[in-house]
């Protein structure tokens, strides 16, 4: 059976036995969600990438501690959040610009690069005023395309609470972005 057709519990079982394809499918399935949660905590692209990658490796090392493999995603995102918080604590000692290095934009024209960077910085600034749970909900829903139900399962929240967080997060983001002249 192809790993793409397997449920989380089966994938976790195979990954526990060291099947690389199964773990690869887990990573493919949740890397965007992991990045979104990490970004909601770190608010920096590089840190979010590091924390999300580290969380996947740690999750594999601790896979035997995942008591309910059907709810693997929620367990994984908890690890992502904790790794992100640890990273922020470590990085708080380091003065850093929230902007990514220009090298990221080298494939674009300079004016376009600056425009994109400005937009992304504005979004990160706007997100930073939201409570962490609202950031995670709005990133998972509006950036990664998760449904309310999926977010509720993964963040272990009631579906009604997810809808409420999403509503208020969007409202506050719009207000903030409009105040700064963003779309």
């Amino acid at each position: 059976m192809r790993v793409k057709a397997l449920g989380d519990a089966d994938l976790v079982g195979r990954a526990r036995a060291g099947v690389a394809d199964a773990f690869g499918e887990i990573v493919a399935r949740y890397m965007r969600a992991a990045y979104a949660v990490a970004l909601s905590v770190t608010r920096r692209h590089e840190d979010a990438e590091d924390a999300a990658q580290e969380a996947f490796v740690v999750s594999l090392e601790r896979l035997d501690e995942c008591r309910d493999p059907d709810r693997f995603a929620g367990w994984l995102l908890t690890i992502v959040r904790n790794r992100s918080l640890n990273l922020v604590r470590r990085e708080s000692l380091r003065a850093a610009s929230p902007l990514p290095p220009d090298a990221e934009y080298r494939s674009e024209r300079p004016d376009r690069m600056a425009e994109r960077r400005e937009l992304r910085d504005g979004l990160l600034q706007a997100l930073s005023v939201l409570p962490e749970v609202q950031q995670a909900v709005v990133l998972l829903h509006d950036l990664e395309g998760f449904t309310h139900r999926e977010i509720a399962q993964r963040l272990k929240l009631p579906a009604g609470t997810v809808r409420s967080h999403l509503h208020f997060a969007r409202q506050r983001l719009r207000t903030r972005l409009q105040a700064h002249g963003e779309p």
Binding site: A15, G18, M31, L39, V57
Partner: protein, 121 residues
């Protein structure tokens, strides 16, 4: 609450793939490279079919040998013809003796009954 595309917050520019094509493919590859050691460790410690069969045989073969030995001993003791015959003789002998005694008692009883009959009539 309506959950339409038009209500979505404009977060598209936060997707690294937008400004860094191939980002997710590289992300995936890096994670698997970092996890390769742990995956290999898990593969080497996971039980294989041969190991399972070997572990079963370790327990099953001695148990089967013990069961066969016990069965053999019981068969030799329980089905031997000499012991069976001796036991039957032992069982029947007292019965013969009792029968002879009973017959003798019966003869005495008949004599008493004859005497009593004579007394009454």
């Amino acid at each position: 609450m309506k959950d339409g595309q038009d209500e979505r917050a404009p977060l598209g520019s936060l997707d690294p793939e937008v400004w860094d094509p191939g980002f997710w493919e590289r992300f995936h590859r890096r994670v698997l490279a970092r996890a390769a050691g742990e995956l290999a460790r898990r593969r080497s410690s996971a039980p294989r079919v041969n190991d399972l069969l070997l572990s079963w045989s370790r327990a099953v073969v001695p148990a089967a040998l013990l069961a066969a030995s016990l069965g053999g001993v019981l068969a030799l003791r329980g089905l031997g013809p000499t012991q069976e015959a001796a036991t039957l003789q032992e069982l029947l002998a007292p019965e013969d003796a009792d029968l002879a005694a009973a017959l003798a008692a019966s003869a005495t009883l008949d004599a008493v009954n004859v005497f009593l009959a004579d007394v009454e009539y």
